[in-house]
């Protein structure tokens, strides 16, 4: 009798400990959920070399081409790779997001006429697909850039983006670059 009560409580304890340690109900930060679009910058004259963009600022644009938020996606940084959040609403519906990429963003603030920032706009077009992840994280969205028109660049008088190339049209994770941008 005594033995069984001990056994019973022991078993109950083990199960409670085992189950309370479960992380099932919190979506762990290292879980791969909805990916960013990864873009890397390469030198147009030396196409195997990464090239840093000086003081790059990225602004997400709304449907009226106005800044969506007062906070930029990326704040004036020298960088050769960027991760862009994609906008999406419905599964299977082609969606686009426009980004304003500002090179030498700090030059916009000074009064020196000999230099200025350079604004280029890119448009990414993709189809979201919802994929089940886990009980805690629910679903994530992955994106397909399609075979044509996944990335277009607005042509202006002085583009600092020379050309673009889609490396991987399926944006399923953040392990590698999906798009390459060649710059001068």
């Amino acid at each position: 009798m005594k033995r069984i009560i001990i056994l019973l409580s022991f078993l109950a304890l083990i199960t409670i400990i085992a189950l309370s340690c479960e992380r099932d109900d919190i979506c762990a930060e290292d879980t791969a959920t909805t990916p960013h679009l990864i873009i890397r910058f390469y030198d147009i004259n030396n196409q195997d070399e990464l090239k840093q963009v000086r003081q790059l600022e990225i602004i997400g644009l709304d449907d009226d081409d106005m800044p969506f938020s007062t906070t930029p996606i990326l704040n004036r940084t020298n960088t050769d790779s960027i991760a862009l959040p994609l906008r999406f609403a419905d599964e299977g519906v082609e969606t686009k997001t426009r980004f304003q990429l500002v090179k030498d963003a700090d030059f916009a603030d000074n009064m020196d006429d000999s230099n200025d920032s350079n604004i280029d706009i890119i448009e990414v077009k993709y189809t979201p697909e919802f994929i089940y992840v886990s009980r805690a994280c629910g679903y994530k969205s992955i994106f397909n850039l399609g075979t044509t028109g996944g990335l277009t660049q607005e042509i202006d008088a002085d583009n600092w983006i020379i050309s673009t190339e889609i490396l991987n049209e399926n944006i399923e994770n953040e392990n590698a670059a999906h798009i390459i941008i060649y710059i001068n």
Binding site: I4, A12, T34, A89, R135, C137, G138, Y139
Partner: protein
């Protein structure tokens, strides 16, 4: 764990062969069918908006210690967090044996038992809505899909280890509680989704195939026949 459960069986009376003068008393032991229900599930049905459940259970006494036991039930459970809202619904049957490890005094018929079950469940899952998980909240409004999606014709098989007790409160009227440790053997997973809750098995865990359950039962014994139970009473030599 199964090996541990066997220990109590090996630790019983060693006193039978002693040379003492002894009286033998005979008590009648009832054999029959005990039928009841799980009141825990009824209470939870009343209290928890996301749960509806009902279970009847029964056992039939085969020998002094061995019972055939089974449960039949139906459950509906909604699981909702910020990202997913799913209702699982279905019925289940569990069958197996209980082994009474408790040596009763006199004519008492209480049980402290261990047992095992094989459980089967047939159920469906309905995805009420999902909100896509996006760690980056730059574009603010998260995408929510409210279209209802049903995953029908799902099934699962599992085994359970049961430990519990049953006490006779009034004549032929028993109250019991038990703990079930479950291990999934096989299940149909819905396409592009997962079984979050299996009626009878309860919620599933990401880490593996184990599950847990509790039962609070009230049951009534329908006596069918009686058998003698001989109790040896030792008297001191004068």
């Amino acid at each position: 764990m199964i090996i541990m459960m066997l220990f109590p069986m090996t630790s019983q009376s060693q006193t039978e062969n002693e040379e003492t003068i002894s009286d033998t008393l005979v008590y009648k032991q009832k054999y029959g069918l005990r039928i009841g229900g799980d009141i825990g599930k009824l209470v939870r049905t009343a209290v928890d908006d996301d749960y509806t459940g009902f279970e009847i259970n029964g056992d039939y006494r085969l020998t002094k210690k061995l019972y055939i036991a089974g449960e039949l039930g139906t459950e509906e459970r909604r699981i909702a967090n910020g990202f997913i809202d799913v209702t699982a619904k279905g019925s289940y049957f569990k069958g197996g044996i209980d082994y009474n490890t408790y040596t009763n005094w006199l004519d008492m018929q209480n049980m402290i038992y261990t047992g095992f079950r094989v459980g089967v469940s047939s159920f469906s899952q309905t995805r009420n809505s999902i909100t896509i998980f996006n760690a980056d909240q730059f574009w603010e409004s998260p995408s929510t899909d409210n279209s209802i999606k049903e995953f029908n014709g799902l099934s699962a098989i599992w085994i359970e280890l049961v430990i519990g007790l049953k006490a006779e409160l009034f004549t032929n009227f028993y109250a019991g509680l038990n703990l079930q440790i479950k291990s999934n053997i096989s299940q149909d997973q819905p396409d592009g989704f997962e079984n979050l809750y299996i009626p009878g098995f309860n919620r599933t865990y990401d880490s593996g195939r184990f599950g847990i359950g509790f039962g609070y039962t009230l049951s009534y014994l329908i006596p069918i026949y009686k058998k003698d139970k001989k109790v040896v009473v030792e008297a001191e030599k004068n």
